[in-house]
């Protein structure tokens, strides 16, 4: 894999993108509640799960970015 971007960098990009997208959706839903919310929606899983993914993705992107 010499000279190649590592798979961990690709993973980081994907996690970061998904995290931002999902957390953003969760934040938007704070002001636009769903008509048929899923069970335990009051815990706002998209916000914290998306945030965890975004942070993990950012760490991977920075740690394994091509140099």
């Amino acid at each position: 894999m010499r000279g190649h971007v590592q798979i961990w960098f690709f993973s980081g990009i994907l996690l970061l993108t998904y995290g931002v997208l999902i957390a953003g959706t969760g934040l938007w839903e704070l002001s636009h509640p769903l008509a048929n919310p899923p069970v335990l929606y009051e815990l706002h899983p998209p916000i914290w799960w998306g945030a965890i993914m975004a942070v993990a993705g950012l760490i991977y992107v920075l740690r394994f970015r091509p140099r």
């Binding site: 894999m1 798979i7 993973s11 994907l14 998904y18 919310p37 899923p38 069970v39 335990l40 899983p45």
Partner: protein, 576 residues
């Protein structure tokens, strides 16, 4: 293309949304589309690193222990594995966990500690390749043809299973699911070879966890913890059988699976599990791509650590559904007839229960990723075995390296096309699914006997290997047919008339492996063995295993194997 034919083509893929469980929003579609774009991009990105056969089929043997280990587990984590075992957990309770613990962990550790050195130092490209070095072309041809045939058939069954769930849950048309996902897999594997398959398997492994992990977390919150969940299941099912791993296996009638602990330990834990995890080239190929012997030994151990945690995202959702879903799930045939939900839909049902827009897309992507990793594993292993062990060994021995790479790329497409054909065949004759899965198990258990004796017993001969493998396979088929045509024979095959299908599978595997070992030993003792010099690098006692120079004690594979083994024992005791 005329307007009429274009309309007809679009209608072919049009989704019959009527009756679907859920509808995806824009953000969900975006999550799925980003995933497809990423896996295809990786295929194109790695195209330049798959020019020689060593690069295309073995990923250049450059993978680290972590990458090979995660890929080793991910290739097995297909859609049948994810949705099927979640459904089994709903049906049989925590007993389904045995397929992840006793049915995987000891075998994976055995592969890493005992068997990997022989696979690795022999520099074989495949498991049939090892058989060729050890026993000659007879055993190689038999195992290669069976493996290639079964691999593409299993891939098609996986494909059909995924498409069926997508149809029920999302209302997606079967043709759409089958063609879009299989063409994507064909593109990225044909472009980047094993390296591309492995890279995407890592990505898919992460996605499976991220998409599915929220279900047990939210479920445990809703059920108010594990202790309350057990009490709720006991109350709802009227039995404590669903939450105990071993304490109900003293008799076939005492547990929902109709199984005895001897079948679990000797049939599942030894014959089936070791047969699959140590000789099935689909998973072994990932480990053979490691960059050195230490990485090759560590990869299955790392894989075992992760495999031990998979029940959390597969089995626990099934158990949570037993307690929390307001309706009962039914077998597939009943679901088709009555319009109820089947056991196999338990994971998507729980996903829909907790996930809104965005997270739902992530969960669906996890299911698609599971399917694609399983299929990529199948087609990359098929391409390798076909090219090296059938085409290169028997049809065209002296072709150039670039010719074999080209053959591998074409094989990837052909393997996908055969898989698609199988998916349509299964669609019209669902019972084929049971038989093909049975056929797969017919071959795996005897192969264990052949490979193990080849690695550990210098006296095993070419004729012994071939006739042992053939007789073990015939024993499995014979026992299957015996019980199929005379169900009363179950009392002899599985030791009890109360045994159920899964118990029968385990005992059949045990008998076929035993028959293989017995015939191999007897025939070997009657025939001339190979000179000891020809066994160098292939057999224990005739090979010098390269010394590994670890700087610290904690870098030794045996230490980590011990850690995983202790964890395995503790988990079994906790859930006894």
């Amino acid at each position: 293309m005329s307007l009429a034919s274009l309309t007809a083509a679009l209608a072919y893929f049009q989704a019959p949304v009527k009756g679907s469980l859920v509808h995806l929003g824009g953000v969900d579609i975006a999550v799925i589309a980003i995933y497809f774009a990423m896996v295809i991009y990786i295929g194109f990105y790695l195209k330049g690193a798959a020019n020689t056969s060593e690069e295309f089929f073995m990923a250049g043997r450059e993978m680290t222990a972590w990458i090979a280990g995660l890929s080793f587990v991910s290739a097995n984590l297909g859609s049948l594995e994810l949705m099927g075992w979640a459904g089994s957990a709903y049906q049989y309770g925590i007993l389904a966990t045995h397929w992840y613990w006793i049915g995987a962990i000891p075998a994976m550790l055995f592969l890493g500690i005992v068997m990997m050195p022989f696979y690795y130092i022999s520099k074989t490209h495949s498991v049939p390749g090892y058989l060729s070095l050890r026993y000659g072309d007879g055993a190689r041809g038999l195992s290669a043809v069976c493996f290639a045939f079964m691999t593409v058939l299993m891939s098609g069954i996986n494909m059909y299973s995924m498409a069926l769930v997508m149809k029920v849950v999302l209302g997606w048309n079967l043709n759409f699911s089958i063609w879009v996902s299989s063409i994507t897999v064909a593109i990225y594997v044909a472009l980047g070879g094993l390296r591309s398959a492995i890279f995407n398997e890592i990505l898919q492994f992460l996605l499976i966890w991220l998409g599915a992990l929220l279900i047990p977390i939210m479920g445990l919150i809703e059920a108010h913890g594990w202790t309350n969940l057990k009490a709720q299941i006991a109350q709802r099912m009227g039995s404590m059988q669903y939450t105990h791993l071993w304490s109900t296996t003293a008799h076939f009638r005492d547990n929902p699976m109709g199984i005895h602990w001897t079948g679990l330990v000797f049939g599942l834990g030894i014959a089936i599990s070791c047969g699959y995890w140590t000789t099935d080239f689909l998973v072994v190929q990932r480990v053979l791509s490691a960059h050195n012997l230490r990485a090759a030994r560590m990869a299955p151990i790392i894989g075992a650590g992760f495999k031990m945690m998979v029940p959390f995202i597969v089995i626990l959702p099934g158990l949570l559904a037993l307690s929390l879903l307001p309706f009962h799930l039914v077998p597939q045939d009943v679901a088709v007839a009555t319009g109820q939900h089947s056991y196999n839909e338990v994971l998507p049902l729980m996903l829909v229960r907790y996930c809104g827009p965005g997270l739902l897309g992530l969960g669906v992507t996890a299911l698609i990723a599971g399917f694609m990793s399983g299929m990529a594993g199948n087609v990359s292993a098929f391409a390798t075995v076909w090219t090296y062990d059938i085409y290169g060994a028997f049809m065209n021995k002296k072709a150039s390296d670039s010719h074999y790479v080209s053959m591998g790329r074409w094989c990837t497409f052909i393997g996908v096309l055969i898989s698609v054909g199988t998916a349509y065949l299964v669609q019209h004759a669902a019972s084929i699914m049971d038989y093909v899965q049975g056929l797969f198990s017919f071959f795996i258990a005897p192969l264990l006997g052949t490979v193990l004796l080849g690695m550990l017993w210098k006296r095993a001969t070419k004729a012994g290997g071939f006739w042992g493998l053939l007789s073990g396979t015939c024993t499995a088929i014979g026992l299957f047919l015996w019980v199929h045509f005379n169900p009363a024979a179950l009392r002899y095959v599985a030791f009890s008339p109360d045994a159920k299908v899964m118990a029968e599978d385990m005992y059949r595997a045990m008998w076929s492996c035993s028959a293989c070992v017995l015939v191999t030993v007897v025939v070997s003792l009657m025939t001339q063995p190979k000179p000891i010099q020809e066994l160098e690098g292939l057999v224990y006692g005739a090979s010098k295993i390269p010394e590994e120079h670890d700087d610290h004690w904690y870098q030794k594979p045996i230490v980590w194997a011990g850690v995983v083994a202790v964890g395995f024992v503790i988990l079994n005791v906790i859930f006894w």
